[in-house]
């Protein structure tokens, strides 16, 4: 069998085939919807980025304020020399009922 001839013949057959250029119904609408959803999904991370940046900034300022408060309480000298400080007063108040029971005859 002449293969070159067969090849030529089959290619000639392929050339005669009419191209089918039908497009499915509303294909362009489908592509547009797909593109719109992609664009929207690209916008969403941008909004998320803004939130993340803002929250990080506020976290940094919160830490700064906490450190300043800590430093202020650490370095501020005690105003009164008495030992009746706040913790002592709290303890006395909380344990007052127990003390009363102990003192009772």
């Amino acid at each position: 069998m002449n293969l070159a001839e067969l090849q030529k013949k089959l290619i000639a057959v392929a050339r005669t085939e009419v191209l089918d250029d039908r497009v499915p119904y509303a294909f362009e609408k489908r592509v547009s919807a797909l593109l719109a959803s992609r664009v929207a999904s690209r916008v969403a991370p941008q909004n998320l980025d803004l939130w993340v940046r803002g929250l990080w900034r506020s976290a940094i300022s919160c830490v700064a304020v906490a450190m300043l408060c800590g430093a202020w309480t650490f370095f501020t000298p005690a105003t009164s020399a008495s030992s009746d400080d706040l913790s002592q007063n709290l303890e006395t108040t909380l344990l007052s009922s127990v003390d009363q029971n102990d003192q009772a005859p």
């Binding site: 069998m1 070159a4 090849q7 290619i11 057959v13 005669t16 497009v23 592509v31």
Partner: protein, 191 residues
Amino acid sequence: MERTEAELIAAVLKGDAASFEPLVQKYSPRVFATARRYARRDSEVEDIAQEVWLKAFDKLKSFRGEAPFEHWLMRMTVRTCYDFLRGHQRNRESSFSELSEPENDWLERFVTAPEAASDNADAAKLLIGRVMEKLSPSARLVITLLEIEDRSVKEIARLTGWSVPLVKVRAFRARAEMRKILAKMTKDKYL
């Protein structure tokens, strides 16, 4: 008033995605016709076309407007079809023993009287479709563009992104590959 292609493209680049729709509507028939040369199933053809348009939207910034939009789009279509062929190479495993009766009859007719075998026979169309499916992706692309669509080597180089010498080499190999497939097919049948 209807907007020109350049106006539509400029609008899309400015962020108006809706302006892309008229372009999709205008050029989809060409994209579908090209995709049908490489894929048989409707779902595959549709996937290719959709992929082409998504790529076109994403890469629209790279369109400089020096050549018509259609040429730029067809380059993208051909390359997407090539990617599709490379991704579906397993489909080439079928054997020629599954030839239908009309296909066998056409081959018989060709063997006895080559000139009597008609060019328009549906069986011959099925046969060439089968042979094309057996070709490697690059061979199928080259045979389609060079032999069936009758494009020049330069044009193929532009469409595929290959160099001119590479197209020539691939065309030579593609013809040899096709002859090998035909030899196997006729050997299966007549020896």
